[in-house]
């Protein structure tokens, strides 16, 4: 039983790391813009596609060792998706800033449909095999089995998250971002170029999403146009669970959702004596989410907004 548990913990960590990485994109955008960026899942989906094209192009050019190819392709994907993110914000969200929160959200939804179908039309609807970036070999560990891909994903996620945290907390631009997410008006009064902070967020968020997408595709060995909408919704749930707007919250939410899903699959039938099957996994996950929000109305690490804090914020 113990090694079974351990094995499940490993699975939970791997999937949780990916959720957490995508959740970061949602949470950063939300923190500053108060916008549910429904298109974020599509940046995640575009990552592996772009990576594949770049790899193919590099191979066609030839002359570089595979490792260099891979690194170049990763960087190209990050930058290109980041630039796309900035463009989407300019075109589809910025004109709507003064119009409440529903209009930008629905515009994001429209963007999501556009991006997903653009790939479906150009590349085709079928899932495509995606080669593993890191050679996949199993390692025995304490009675459990870890694959190198899982280790790679965990390591990459931790490095990216730590890097982002350091960036947001330690650099000048990072402080702009945090200031902008605290108060848009105050920041602009203080001379912070909020638009620049927003652009930066729409560069980093989608870029990270693309990284998560590449990891995801490499882990499962496939990519398909619809992968973003399914995983995106889950990552968004993770961001909410952790407390949307909070970067550590997104990571926590990601790992927690991974754990809940794995628990729902692996233990729910056992715990309930077979009465509740694995098909109730998502019901379980959503129920946990609702329960968490009942007791922590702003997620685990989110700043709870009650009337007390609202009054305090407005009056002082």
């Amino acid at each position: 039983m113990l090694d079974y548990l351990l094995q499940q913990v490993i699975f939970a960590l791997a999937i949780g790391a990916i959720y957490g990485l995508i959740a970061l994109g949602y949470t950063m955008v939300y923190g500053v813009m108060r916008l549910i960026n429904f298109a974020h899942g599509e940046f995640f989906m575009l990552g592996p596609y772009l990576f594949t094209f770049t790899m193919a192009a590099l191979l066609a050019l030839g002359g570089l060792p595979p490792l260099v190819d891979t690194i170049v392709a990763i960087v190209v994907s990050f930058v290109a998706i980041g630039v796309l993110g900035i463009a989407v914000e300019r075109f589809a969200y910025r004109p709507l800033r003064a119009y409440g929160r529903l209009a930008p959200m629905l515009s994001a939804l429209g963007m999501s449909i556009v991006l997903q179908n653009a790939i479906r039309v150009t590349v085709g609807p079928q899932p495509v095999h995606f080669p593993a970036i890191v050679p996949n070999s199993p390692i025995e560990m304490l009675g459990g089995m870890v694959t190198t891909t899982q280790l790679g994903i965990l390591a990459a996620a931790v490095v990216l998250m730590a890097g982002l945290t350091a960036f947001v907390n330690g650099t000048r631009i990072g402080i702009w971002i945090r200031a902008a997410s605290e108060s848009w008006t105050t920041s602009s009064l203080l001379g912070i170029r909020v638009n620049r902070a927003v652009s930066l967020i729409f560069f980093i968020g989608p870029g990270l999403g693309a990284m998560a997408g590449i990891m995801y595709a490499s882990y499962y060995g496939i990519m398909q146009p619809t992968m973003g909408s399914a995983v995106g919704l889950k990552a968004f749930t993770a961001a909410i669970l952790g407390g949307i707007g909070s970067i550590p919250g997104a990571m926590l939410g990601g790992f927690l959702l991974g754990a809940i899903e794995v628990f729902g699959t692996a233990f729910l039938p056992i715990v309930s004596g077979g009465a509740v099957g694995t098909e109730y996994r998502d019901v379980f996950a959503f129920a946990v989410l609702i329960l968490v929000l009942l007791f922590k109305p702003a997620g685990l690490l989110g700043e709870t907004v009650t009337e007390e804090t609202v009054v305090a914020k407005k009056d002082y």
Partner: protein
């Protein structure tokens, strides 16, 4: 003066034309067009219902389709061989509204404390939970297989068969629901909802129980959703979980926002656009959804307040029509 007479005449003619078109012309179209019109009316009713929560009370509900599902399955349970219960359609319509309202209150309770997007995600979760439960409860709902061969709906002994029959039924329901919601909007209840949307804390400060206010919004809108679900399921004579996905919830929210939040006329325009658009785009084959998405973004960016300006609401239209018919000297 001459100009205003001219305007009034054209106004009269337009009103008459719309009435004639709705009552005579549309039912005479080939059944496909009537069916599209049925779909539009269904989504108008749904959106007008959801608009109470989203537009008036300012609470984003992303799981609205769950109430529609509850209504649809209410009909399927009470008018089919599933449990061999065969109740009359109109009674189920009432029961459907009731079960919808009950589900609305059930959802309402946990979400009342939540603000903004947390509420949105909980309603989304609720919608998904309902769908998955329906899909999993094989003994009750046949799971993914759905319930087929539902009874034909009858009203006072007259069977509803063709899309045209349902068109008239839906048209009546649309008018009743829009009228009721319009009067609700203008009543003190509607004003309290708007206050809630503007500033929840200040509203509480006026001695208004915002919890009850939100519950009322959820219950009324869910009742409308439930009743619509009954008609949908009587129309299709088949229900399955596939009809109640998250995408459907989003579609209803989209209709509200595209048309103009809180504006019944806008909602009608939004429903017409978003239901007809995919039909028109059939020619575009696999480019259909791509174009659909682009149109969405462009429309929202160009008209962020909705297709129909807020001033052009149902009240405005009704006043115009009143001015046309009543005492011509009144101008």
């Amino acid at each position: 003066m001459g100009k205003s007479v001219f305007l009034r005449r054209t106004g009269l003619i337009v009103t008459l034309l719309v009435c004639v078109a709705l009552l005579v012309k549309v039912p005479a179209l080939p059944p496909y067009y009537v069916r599209v019109a049925d779909s539009i009316l269904i989504y108008i009713i749904l959106a007008v219902g959801l608009n109470i929560v989203v537009g008036y009370a300012g609470l984003l509900d992303l799981g609205f389709i769950a109430f529609y599902a509850v209504g649809a399955y209410t009909y399927a349970f009470l008018a089919s061989g599933q449990f061999d219960i065969h109740l009359p359609f109109l009674i189920i319509l009432l029961i459907g509204a009731g079960t919808g309202a009950l589900a609305g209150i059930l959802l309402g309770f946990p979400v009342l404390k939540l603000r903004g997007d947390y509420l949105a995600i909980v309603t989304l979760s609720f919608g998904e939970i309902i769908r998955i439960l329906i899909n999993n409860a094989d003994d009750l709902t046949n799971g993914p297989q759905g319930i087929a061969a539902l009874d034909r709906a009858r009203i006072f002994g007259l069977p509803l068969i063709s899309p045209t029959n349902f068109y008239f039924l839906l048209l009546i329901l649309t008018i009743v629901v829009c009228g009721a919601v319009y009067f609700m909007e203008r009543s003190i209840l509607g004003k309290a909802w708007r206050a809630l949307r503007e500033d929840q804390d200040a509203t509480r400060g006026l001695g208004i129980n915002t919890t009850g206010l939100k519950l009322a919004a959820f219950a009324i809108s869910a009742a409308i959703g439930g009743a619509t679900g009954v008609i949908f399921s009587a129309f299709q004579r088949f229900v399955s979980p596939e009809s109640f996905t998250f995408q459907e919830s989003l579609l209803v929210v989209l209709i509200i926002i595209i048309g103009g939040v809180g504006n019944i006329v806008g909602i009608a325009a939004g429903a017409i656009l978003l239901i007809i658009l995919p039909e028109v785009l059939h020619f575009a084959a696999q480019y259909r959804l791509l174009i659909y998405g682009l149109v969405l973004v462009v429309v929202i960016v160009l008209r962020p307040n909705g297709l129909i300006p807020p001033a052009f609401n149902l009240g405005h239209v009704i006043r115009k029509i009143q001015a046309l018919w009543l005492s011509p000297s009144n101008t």
